[in-house]
């Protein structure tokens, strides 16, 4: 068992811990399929979720994961909280810690918040998205989805299409996929590629029609509608023509390939027609797997006893 205190970014985990969490997820998949899909593993532990930025699906996913592990959940809702009265982030974190929370799940529009708040609390910090930086639990859900489909992420050609520059999902996924030995390619308008992309462990392919043929996984990103206002793309229709998954284009996928999207989708922009309902579109699987890997993350941090190495040899187990 590797030792992990926080899951702020993919680098907090590394290959070994990612694989451990994916393995642990198999156990929670089984738990989730039970008549009573709940285990008492984290009874008495508290998971606080602090979402400074709107998100329904990620917050609900963490909440469901924590409840299936019998943890208590404290939801801190920014719109009705003291943040509106001008409380500082530090005071908010210290207040939550004083009430007692073993894990803090945080989403914030500013990059680096999950790292900063570890200075102010003893709780484990889980990043649920910080600006355009990282979203590690989405990556774990995606790695698990791919692993369930192909048996492994290693060696797979994963083509990520869309607004790489503003996407925390893309950043975390490039790290996680390449850590697990996938061959990652990015396809995007040049205006939506980050300037640092030369240093990433990826191929940049200009033409989606070329990249799509060799993709085992076609990973579409949400095209944020405001990018057009920022003049980063000429029009959404042109974006769809060059970078959207249209029915015609989907014919070029290999039969064994899968289509993924982190949601929420802009139907008619990055994905069109009935494609989300295709049998090889695993978008709803990603959502279900999100709950399962978040159970694994919370158990990994709070239940598996990492950081307690050395206490295991006293003959307390089994019998």
């Amino acid at each position: 068992m590797t030792s992990t205190k926080h899951v702020r970014g993919v680098d907090d985990l590394g290959k070994d811990s990612i694989l451990e969490i994916l393995e642990l997820s198999n156990h929670f998949l089984e738990v989730s399929n039970r008549r009573i899909p709940k285990v008492p593993a984290l009874r008495g532990k508290t998971v606080a979720s602090l979402f400074f930025e709107d998100s329904t699906r990620t917050r609900l996913s963490f909440e469901k994961a924590a409840k299936r592990l019998s943890a208590d959940v404290m939801n801190f809702s920014v719109s009705s909280s003291s943040v509106k009265k001008g409380e500082s982030l530090r005071d908010t974190i210290e207040t939550i810690s004083s009430m007692g929370a073993e894990a803090i799940v945080v989403r914030h529009k500013s990059v680096g918040v999950p790292w900063m708040i570890t200075e102010w609390t003893d709780a484990s910090v889980v990043n649920a998205g910080d600006g355009a930086h990282e979203h590690p639990t989405q990556s774990l859900a995606d790695c698990y989805t791919i692993t369930r489909q192909f048996g492994s992420v290693e060696g797979k050609r994963i083509v990520i299409v869309g607004d790489i520059k503003h996407s925390r999902v893309a950043r975390s996924n490039v790290k996680a996929f390449s850590a697990l030995g996938a061959k990652v390619a990015l396809v995007a308008p040049p205006t939506l590629l980050p300037s640092s992309v030369d240093n990433w462990p990826v191929d940049v392919i200009e033409d989606l029609d070329v990249a799509i043929k060799e993709a085992d996984v076609l990973y579409l990103l949400r095209m944020q509608l405001e990018r057009q206002k920022e003049s980063l793309v000429p029009s959404l229709r042109e974006y769809t023509n060059f970078y959207g998954l249209t029915l015609d284009r989907s014919q070029k996928l290999q039969k064994s390939s899968i289509i993924m999207h982190p949601g929420p989708m802009n139907r008619g922009v990055e994905i069109t027609g009935d494609i989300p309902a295709f049998p090889n579109a695993l978008i709803t699987n990603q959502v279900g797997n999100g709950v399962i890997v978040r159970m694994a993350v919370l158990y990994h941090l709070l239940g598996s006893g990492v950081g307690l190495a050395g206490l295991h040899s006293e003959g307390e187990e089994d019998g």
Binding site: H27, E30, S304, A309, H312, S313, E317
Partner: protein, 191 residues
Amino acid sequence: MAVQEDGTTPHIRGVFVARSEVMDSDDVRRALWRMAHEILEHNHGISNVALVGLQTGGVPLARKLAENLAEIEGSNIPVGYLDVAFYRDDIGLRPVSPREPTEIPFDLSDKTVVLVDDVLFTGRTIRAALDAVTDFGRPASVQLAVMVDRGHRELPIRPDFVGKNIPTRRDELVDVRENSVQIGEYKESNE
């Protein structure tokens, strides 16, 4: 002396150094044959019986018991596998990791469930298993079969079917395999 990793009770990360073999391959085979007969006798047949082996030590024993029961009675009985990690009472006190996924592809409600494990020691694993079993249904009754009862109970739990009672020291280890039962000690591994 045999030196091997894992497979021991309690589960350890160092190495298990065997000191003496208390059951050989024939002893284990005969014990499992007798236990199968006892399960039959006790339950007046196997029509309503299901076996649940505890991961990981109880799994091969549950399989073997099911084979024996099928041979004696001429019909198969359901066998499931249960990992109790998420039900343990020492989560957070020491590293608790599940070993192999649970697999109980049938309803336990109204069945006579025979839990099967390799070694009965403190009783805490069985306590956890009893909690877990109730999440899969409401069994008519739950019984316990173990290859070795080594004493040192910390909870009011007793086995219904026992391969062999073996008095031990608390710090000893018992290693149950399909072809032997050995008592030994834990040695720090030098890795």
